[in-house]
């Protein structure tokens, strides 16, 4: 039996062989042989032909339906003020790999112990939400007396499960100063700055003090899971590293649309999958039927050298090996000059450079060469 599989080693991908071994358990040898032959035949038939211009075909296959994408921005039903960009703007955001997506969103699923209890999930969501001081208190500054008064709004404090004492502790820690006076709802600072400018900066720091929650998460909404088995949290803002550390969170089901963050936290393979999932989500959301293999190629090109790179001048197109190909794309003179200073060689292995110099391109019929054995 195992020699049957040995025959296909190197011919079929390892993962496929493992799956087949599992699937053919309990089958007789001739049946296994037949199965393997069938699978191998399918595998060969579905491979790209040598010399096929997969890149151009992928570009056209995504680009043409892309012209039909709408510029509309949809709003998530039930999630107040979460306007996630869809369609072309989002797609551009993915391939341009912006440092921060215009709308980072997380989906946080919780461990079985609490995900079925709506109350607990809501309580947890409240802990996620980042609350700046300006949300729960008013800050008044008296520049003449160089004194700052903070007045807490107790109702808002309670909403976030905070007490005045907690808040005072947090503020004192954040500004690294003890308060001068503490009276009911009031907190008075006299930081002892002489210049107006440093006082202003101090006030700004107070305003930005986060009293609770996870950094970067502006809003958290509780939603019911699709199968109705429990509740999960959708957030405006993303912080994968911090959320994964929380004990209540089920780490295998947390999702964010922030590709760069996924790369930092989970690595390049996860980032590649994130590009794939996000790009496919955009195309599906627009009702465009694009073979996922084209999208996979784009994701692979963005990730193959170990870090996610955008498509375009800063990324893939700007770092092609050919001088001519780079010069033909953008910033012609810059590339030519840089190449001349380094004394670079163009090996003429790509398509663009061969079109420029007027040679057959190494694709399709241009790839085939006829050789003759000498001697005899």
């Amino acid at each position: 039996m195992s020699d049957l599989f040995e025959k296909y080693e190197g011919k079929l991908p390892k993962k496929v062989l493992v799956e087949l071994k599992e699937a053919t358990k309990g089958l007789k040898s001739p049946e296994v042989k037949k199965t393997l032959e069938r699978v191998y035949g399918e595998f060969v038939a579905n491979k790209a032909v040598p010399g096929e211009a997969v890149g151009i075909i992928a570009a056209q296959s995504i680009g043409e339906p892309g012209t039909q994408m709408t510029m509309r921005t949809f709003h998530y039903a039930g999630v107040a003020e979460l306007a996630v960009p869809q369609g072309l703007p989002r797609f551009i955001e993915i391939v341009d790999l912006r440092k921060e997506p215009s709308m980072p969103v997380m989906e946080i699923y919780l461990t079985d112990s609490i995900r079925k209890d709506e109350e607990k999930v809501i309580a947890f969501a409240e802990r996620l939400e980042n609350v700046p001081l300006s949300d729960i208190a008013t800050v008044e500054e008296d520049f003449a007396k160089k004194r700052i008064t903070i007045t807490f709004n107790e109702m808002r404090l309670n909403e976030h499960g905070l007490t005045v004492e907690d808040a005072i502790k947090k503020i004192e820690k954040a500004v690294r100063r003890k308060a001068k006076e503490k009276k009911d709802n009031n907190l008075v600072f006299e930081p002892g700055f002489n210049t107006l400018r440093s006082l202003r900066k101090f006030v700004d720091r107070i305003h930005e003090t986060k009293l609770c929650g996870v950094k970067g998460i502006r809003k958290a909404v509780v939603l019911q899971e699709h199968d109705g088995s429990g509740w999960y949290i959708k957030t405006d803002g993303s912080n994968l590293a911090a959320v994964l550390k929380m004990a209540e969170v089920e780490p295998s089901r947390v999702y964010t649309n922030h590709i760069r963050e996924i790369e930092d936290v989970l690595g390049i393979e996860a980032a590649r999958n994130a590009v794939l999932i996000e790009a496919k989500a955009v195309l599906d959301g627009q009702g465009l039927k694009v073979n996922p293999r084209h999208v996979m190629l784009v994701a692979d090109v963005m990730c193959y050298d170990g870090q996610v790179r955008p498509i375009g001048r800063q990324g893939v197109s700007g770092s092609k090996s050919s001088v001519f190909a780079r010069a033909a794309f953008e910033e012609t003179v810059k590339h030519l000059h840089a190449a001349s200073i380094k004394g670079q060689k163009d090996m003429l292995t790509g398509i663009t450079e061969n079109i420029i110099i007027g040679q057959t391109i190494p694709v399709g019929t241009g790839l085939v060469k006829l050789g003759m054995k000498q001697g005899k």
């Binding site: 010399g51 096929e52 211009a53 151009i56 075909i57 570009a59 056209q60 003179v333 030519l336 000059h337 001349s340 060689k345 398509i351 079109i355 420029i356 110099i357 007027g358 040679q359 057959t360 391109i361 694709v363 399709g364 019929t365 241009g366 790839l367 060469k369 050789g371």
Partner: protein, 604 residues
């Protein structure tokens, strides 16, 4: 401050306790002629603000003034207007009509029609169709068409060929078209009459059948009756004027109109100058073809150093004649010799060519229903009615339902009825409430079906066509996009000097660009050799000698029969096929102080 704030031309000038009375007073005085009619006053109750405007640049529109639900315009006025005793100005001065700006309009309550007016109303529209612009209101029944089609009809009205100016024979327009047998439309609007478009019409009333015709009128194409074309349907003349001036140059030199002599630089050959007179100017009524010289002109040399040896001032002049466009032909219609504003001698030559409708020419009705001629069919092959009438144009029925041009159908039906009845015209002004029943009665009276359908017979076989065909009269326009002015193809031809790639554009006999996206499709198919043919072989291929030792472009000295490298003097050079654009790039790199090397290698 108490009271409403009062703004004059946007500036706060004071406050008033009785703003309504103030505004009413102003209006009363304006209507009485005590204040200029350009003044507008409005009171905004919600802000308690009065706006008085007298400045320039406000869009204003005329309205009939109502007082206590009754028009100030009386029968007496109308009679006097008809008798030409009074005019618009008098109505304005009397306060019978007034112009409102957008702010005073906010205070007005305007009835669309006189019969709708109540005591509450302040004004009545002069005519509801005034909501349309001049062009849209010239199209018939715009109120029965969908709005995109009205927009398109308005755009196409401006492209229709007709008599654009009654003095066209005296004018030297750069380009112009004149229609031979223009007709006033049967379906007319008041607006068209007022702007005078019926005095200089641009179109003809033709018999239109709406039916398919062997697939030759699919996708909005039209079938034309050949006999109609030969009788002058859509026939126009195209005029183009060519200009030349005897320009003066610094150094006392100037251009000269003359018959160029063979020794002149760039001489075009005797043939090209055959129509020119002694003065170098063509004679009227010559039959000219593309490339023929219309005005012979020579210019002084570009550089002064070119003065001949022995210090002879005999300059080498260059040929600079004006020739007929390569793709055109015609007859010289008029020649004018005059003086430019600069004082130089100026010659204008107008060439005329007859443009008979042909396959590919664009026609349109006034309902945004445009189409291109798909076939010109002999009259004996056209379908005919019981009375022996053959249509001039056949339009495809698929053009109507999805576009909802009901106005088109109404025009055909109405024009048919009106032409049978012998009436002058059909009123097709927007919102003028068409008397559909009357039209039906007219048709029935003359023995036609009330819905405009008729039994037609196949012109080829004589068989009765199973469906009844909607047939009637419609006004059709020939639009200025003529195939003969657009048709273009090239196999070989001129190239650009810099890149040696084919030129661009019809006027330069150019090639059709094989662009980036087209390039991508060939890459996608992996058809490498076809791509090479398009981008190199059929474009700017050159064979350059390359030095194998140092990689520079080598020299081919044909006198000494020697091929060598100018840098390292090696004679080991190889001919290499490349695009001239690439050779140019190598040269430009050298100009940037970058030395490119071409490393040669045997093709594996």
């Amino acid at each position: 401050m108490e009271g409403a704030s009062v703004y004059l031309n946007g500036k706060l000038i004071g406050f008033h306790n009785k703003p309504t009375e103030l505004v009413e007073n102003l209006r009363r005085k304006r209507r009485a002629g005590a204040l200029p009619h350009e003044l507008n006053a409005a009171y905004y109750a919600e802000n308690d603000e009065v706006y008085i405007n007298t400045d320039a640049g406000r869009a204003r529109r005329p309205l009939l003034v109502l007082e206590n639900g009754k028009l100030k315009l009386t029968q007496k006025h109308i009679e006097e207007l008809k008798a030409d005793k009074i005019g618009w100005k008098d109505l304005l001065n009397e306060g019978v009509v007034e112009y409102l700006d957008s702010e005073e309009e906010e205070n007005a309550y305007i009835a669309v029609r006189e019969e709708d007016a109540t005591p509450e109303h302040t004004h009545v529209e002069v005519h509801p169709s005034l909501m349309l612009g001049v062009v849209a209101a010239c199209a018939p029944f715009p109120d029965h068409n969908s709005s995109p089609r009205v927009t398109m009809a308005s755009a196409m009205l401006k492209q229709a060929l007709g008599v654009y100016q009654s003095n066209y024979a005296l004018r030297m327009d750069t380009q112009s078209h004149v229609m031979h047998y223009p007709q006033k439309p049967l379906a007319r609007t008041k607006h068209a009459e007022i702007i005078g478009s019926n005095d200089r019409p641009a179109g003809q009333n033709i018999v239109l059948a709406i039916m398919p015709f062997g697939g030759y009128n699919m996708e909005d194409a039209l079938i034309l009756n050949k006999a109609s074309v030969e009788r002058g349907l859509g026939r126009t003349t195209f005029y183009r004027t060519y200009t030349a001036e005897e320009r003066r140059y610094p150094g006392g030199q100037k251009d000269r109109f003359e018959l160029p002599k063979p020794e002149i630089q760039g001489y075009r050959g005797d043939e090209a100058y055959r129509f020119l007179g002694e003065d170098g100017i063509i004679l009227p009524e010559c039959k000219v073809d593309g490339g023929d010289v219309l005005i012979g002109k020579t210019s002084p040399p570009r550089f002064l150093e070119e003065v001949g040896e022995l210090s002879m001032i005999e300059e080498k002049r260059r040929e600079n004649s004006v020739t007929l466009r390569p793709s055109e032909a015609g007859d010289v219609d008029a020649v004018i010799v005059t003086e430019a504003t600069t004082g130089n001698k100026l010659v204008k030559v107008r060439v005329r060519s007859l443009k008979i409708p042909e396959i590919g020419d664009k026609f349109a009705s006034r309902h945004g229903q445009k189409g291109v001629v798909g076939m010109i069919v002999p009259q004996h092959d056209m379908p005919f009615t019981e009375n022996g009438i053959t249509p001039d144009i056949i339009m495809n029925p698929h053009a109507v339902p999805s576009r909802m041009t009901v106005g088109h159908v109404l025009e055909v039906l109405g024009s048919k009825a009106v032409s049978l009845e012998g009436e002058d015209f059909l009123n097709a002004t927007a919102f003028d409430r068409l008397d559909y029943g009357g039209l039906k009665k007219m048709l029935l009276k003359h023995g036609f079906r009330h819905d405009g359908k008729e039994v037609l017979y196949n012109g080829v076989t004589g068989e009765k066509i199973e469906a009844e065909i909607f047939i009637g009269v419609c006004y059709y326009q020939r639009l200025k996009h003529l195939v003969s002015n657009k048709i273009h193809a090239r196999s070989r031809g001129p190239v650009q000097i810099l890149t040696r790639q084919p030129t661009e554009g019809r006027a330069r006999e150019g090639g059709l660009r094989f662009g980036e996206m087209e390039r991508d499709t060939l890459i996608g198919h992996g058809t490498s050799m076809l791509l090479l043919e398009r981008l190199l072989k059929e474009s700017d291929i050159v064979t350059e000698l390359i030095c194998e030792k140092c990689g520079t472009i080598a020299v081919d000295d044909q006198i000494r029969k020697k091929q060598y490298c100018p840098i390292c003097e090696s004679t080991n050079v190889k001919p290499i096929e490349m695009s001239y654009a690439f050779k140019l790039l190598l040269n430009e790199l050298k100009a940037l102080n970058i030395r490119p090397k071409v490393v040669l290698e045997d093709k594996a």
